[in-house]
Symmetry: C2
Subunit: 147 residues, 2 copies
Amino acid sequence: MPYSSFASMPCTLSRPAALLGERWTLLLLRQIFLGTRRFEDFQATMDISRSVLTDRLNVLLQENVLKRVPYHEDGRTRHEYRLTEKGRDLYPVLMALRTWGEKWMAPDEEESFHLHHRDCGGGVRAKVECTECAAELTARDVQVAKQ
Amino acid sequence: MPYSSFASMPCTLSRPAALLGERWTLLLLRQIFLGTRRFEDFQATMDISRSVLTDRLNVLLQENVLKRVPYHEDGRTRHEYRLTEKGRDLYPVLMALRTWGEKWMAPDEEESFHLHHRDCGGGVRAKVECTECAAELTARDVQVAKQ
DNA sequence: TAGCTGAGTTCGAAAATCGAACGCAAGGGA
DNA sequence: TCCCTTGCGTTCGATTTTCGAACTCAGCTA
């Protein structure tokens, strides 16, 4: 049972965890949410090796998290990588990571970037809530039922 | 600038992403949230190689996500791995992964486990909200400010 | 005394990653 | 026309990680 078998287990947690748990994939998604879209820009800003970058982009294309979109520059047609709706839906995952990072791994100095709600200027945080009563939940409030 | 340099960048997203983005780490945390605590049990249920398991547990101990707690069995003292408060605070990350998995990677058959709020029996989901106006936010509602 | 168990450690083989060079197609300039 | 540049990969040999099986070790147990 190798690592990749978690990607095909009938578990809605192990499948995303196996996909995003590959080295570089979370950092790549971070870069995408920060606005990077082109191969050269990923390579330059992350200093990832080109072959691994190719591989990770292809995996995310295959999983339909990203799509290749043509664009024009200097009269030439090229392609850039953009989030699909499925990809955009990963936003809460990244925000949960960031919320945790702010609480537990905040560097001494200033942040490298701030996020705020366009409409009201407020801050941004991830949370877990009950779909019925809308209470905020921690691990202790949740019961696991096998099968 | 190797992979590990993201773990020390002054960015509250890249640091957690680099830590949890190592192979096996997310799957290991999933197993821990499901209740596994002992070396042998991790090894048996995940079929991870023993040396990598040792390494990942040590990294999480060092980051203070896990702690080693002594327990007694058959009159012998052993240790088990348990979440610290910092570790328990990763719950929203795992729930965000699961919420995404339920929407986009749900297997045809039944889930391997269900989660529900102890108090009211409702479902569980992760979301992103504004700290001021409490509106639910998507990537489009959020503005990134450099520095 | 010998065997068992939990929790690792060790080590040679296999796989993943790295970095530097190479390939290639489509302009642009001389 | 020929050469140069750019963006986006591919290839390849060297280095790192991971794998899997065997080994270690301490403290019971038979």
